[in-house]
Symmetry: C2
Subunit: 473 residues, 2 copies
């Protein structure tokens, strides 16, 4: 009923291959952003499911034309908004293989090969981040789920206290706040502490808050540091925070979803020093490790903390423990049925080797440094911050009010979205509306970055009535 | 650095296609289960990442040989253990396309076409389950994550009480208990109520427990019913539970991960009557809707309850709301970066049509009924329960003690695992160790089921020293 003949299966797969490879070939010459408004798309797509089938080739073509091309091309070399990713082809093929083999990495009896390979890949991550023997982890859907795992483990490690408190900076990602709320940390016990001009939390303030909370009968449960804020790439003072957590006996979680894999490049490792002291760490291979969505990971210093928090027996799973005197993957996290996310990481790294990955990460750090220099030298642009691969800046010809500056920058952003091949987004830094480049695509070149900045300068010139002024090249 | 030439990309994709199509062609003639022990696989797979790359074709072949074939073939027509799935080819191709297009369905600005298509597919589900206008939902990684969303929404709807209580049966899936614990419902406030011989909870007992808890200052927060227990396919009395929840003002969640899609077949719809009264519902298209992992879904009666629980603003996402006066997908759940799970459902249904899906679901119900009849007529097998597509039975020649029966059935299970093409698992029903068939594969035939039962009868005969006795065919 739902089966296809092998020849049709092959024909359809070749058709999809042609579309996907053609897409990659044409990526650079097209625009980074495409999209449409909800009403228009609803008109095109809202319909009841058909009673009888339609030719699969037509279904594929319609999915491409009406749906898949109405997206931001996150892997476009000029896609600098939010945190983009540019997956490798072996990573994409791995996802195809995982679906085709119908893999469920829940337990050893269901998937012994994939279970072991996930341990291998997570073991690589542990060693890159300097975690000790006895550490462990789990591939997750992404950074938000990984953070949630960390908060559950931290809460259980603290004995599931009545009045748990979490500490993070005002630059922490909303996923951390969401995770805290999900595990039952009341909003008024999530301490959002201010940051300095560089977007970094003050360890002394964390220590003081912990002591104050404890004196009021609350239980300090988790300190959540940033190893690369999403807004500005800021890295919290990790060694000092580790000291505070060790002294106070509080769980030390690090959100390294965006920035973590910078450790593979020497200057990134320097920037992220102290990351090896985390009790838990969330990282996203689907960001700076060039994997297709979804590929997140939670790492913990002591694998037992995850198993303690998540392992639950069940009669219908009693066969899952046959022949195993070790945890099954599903004992370490939220999911029971789980896709096989480690394969894409493994296949990519096997095919290209670590040297190529290091070089690709270095490329992002290089381009961000050059972008910061370019902005610094521009007469119409102002550099607001630069850390890891994120550069925040704004149009600032020097003679406009703060409100007017916000308007001009907002307008520039809109015009680039609609009129340029490039895509960037904005954020707030120190209360200022700024434009923001996140440069981590292995295909991005200096031309991509420079021409995007030049486009901003052109809008700056038009908006402020001055002539276009180009920085050094 | 991490780029491949188009010709190599095509060649590799064709190679993967040949492997996947060949696998499907050979599925029936091979064994359902393959696997190995951890030590053996560790010896084969544990190694550091290579510094330089290896030929991608070799990497693919090694992934297949050392990893992907060491798994239970969940889509084998004789794979009856746990809850299996058999994905359609358009569903598999959709996953390939989603990875290749690098889609992130976080928000409208990032993926407008996919955001709209997810609403379309979730809308189909809503109508199949009889949810009213104003309902909403979100595709999730699976049933565990979907249940977690329901528990968060229920807790927030109850005003985030200090002493929340959850109610479920002793047949509820461990994922429900895990979800309750994650959101901070203490283990001693998770009321696990006993079930009758058919595995169904008593609505009167739920009502009494709610009243008792309230009188002791606790806050009854969520009743979690089963629409198809994983152990035996039992359906809790949904209309009566809905009445209790309405009368007491408690959130009514239904776990329909395994059984939900039975509503598409007329007799399934009868069995699941009352499901339309849920406040929330978790369903798994990667089970009885024939999709590859991962495809779960949370549905809620009022979309606002999800948005209230999960929506969090963030500076770095401020551009995500441009041009939208409606929720973004990420406002409704845990994930921010999200893969595009709805595409596989949509492509499968477009290509085959609803009639084919209904027939495929009916096939599972048919085969389970015939299996139950076969067991009933067998002189060595005893029927313990049969509901939806799950048949629980045991070898019982009539003259053995309970302990001896457990040993004989355990041995039979082990011998089928190692010696037969088929795969089944066990569970506990009313304190008895039973064998269990979950029959939902659209490719399974009566021969597949009958020959599996005959194999159990053969082991029964050998173990008990009697001659093989075959039931009616």
């Amino acid at each position: 009923m739902l089966q296809m003949a092998p020849e049709e299966m092959r024909e359809l797969a070749h058709h999809v291959t042609d579309i996907l490879v053609g897409r990659v070939e044409g990526l650079r010459s097209g625009r980074a952003w495409e999209g449409d408004f909800k009403d228009a798309l609803a008109q095109r797509l809202d319909e009841d499911p058909p009673e009888t089938g339609r030719p699969a080739l037509d279904v594929i073509d319609r999915a491409v034309q009406d749906v898949l091309t109405n997206t931001l091309r996150l892997d476009h070399p000029r896609s600098f908004g939010f945190v983009p990713t540019c997956p490798t082809w072996p990573g994409v093929l791995a996802d195809f293989m995982v679906s085709g083999f119908n893999v469920n990495v829940a337990s050893w009896i269901v998937a012994s090969g994939p279970s072991q390979l996930e341990e291998v890949v997570v073991g690589w991550f542990q060693s890159w981040f300097g975690l000790p023997e006895g550490a462990g982890g789990l591939m997750t859907s992404g950074g938000s789920a990984a953070a949630l795992h960390a908060f559950v483990a931290a809460r259980e490690a603290a004995g599931n206290p009545d009045r748990p408190v979490a500490y993070m900076s005002d630059q922490s990602h909303s996923a951390q706040i969401r995770a805290a709320r999900i595990v039952g940390i009341a909003p008024d016990r999530i301490r959002v502490l201010p940051t300095d001009a560089a977007g970094r939390i003050d360890p002394g303030a964390v220590s003081a808050a912990i002591i104050a909370d404890r004196s009021e009968g609350c239980t300090p449960t988790v300190v959540c540091a940033n190893a690369g804020t999403a807004a500005a790439g800021a890295v919290d003072p990790l060694p000092e925070l580790a000291e505070v957590c060790a002294a106070e006996g509080v769980w030390f979680h690090i959100d390294a979803a965006y920035g973590g894999f910078a450790v593979l490049a020497p200057r990134g490792a320097v920037a992220l020093e102290g990351i090896e002291r985390a009790d838990s760490l969330n990282i996203d291979p689907h960001k700076w490790l060039f994997q297709p969505y979804e590929a997140g990971c939670i790492l913990v210093r002591d694998a037992g903390t995850l198993e303690h928090a998540f392992s639950i027996g069940h009669d219908v799973l009693q066969d899952a423990v046959w022949g195993t005197r070790h945890a099954n993957p599903a004992d370490r996290g939220i999911q029971l049925s789980r896709s096989f996310r480690a394969l894409k990481v493994w296949m990519s790294i096997q095919a290209f080797g670590m040297a190529a990955f290091r070089a690709a990460i270095d490329n992002g750090l290089d381009l961000a440094e050059r972008a910061a220099e370019y902005v610094r030298d521009s007469s119409t642009l102002e550099l607001v911050s630069a850390s890891l691969s994120i550069v925040c800046f704004r149009i600032n010809p020097g003679d406009l009010s703060e409100d007017a500056l916000t308007d001009v920058n907002r307008e520039a952003l809109a015009r680039i979205l609609w009129g340029e091949r490039a895509f960037l987004t904005s954020t707030m830094v120190n209360g200022q509306f700024v434009l923001r480049l996140c440069i981590i695509n292995h295909n991005s070149t200096w031309d991509d970055v420079r021409e995007t900045l030049q486009a901003v300068e052109r809008y700056a010139a038009e908006a402020t009535g001055s002539s276009s002024t180009t920085g050094t090249d």
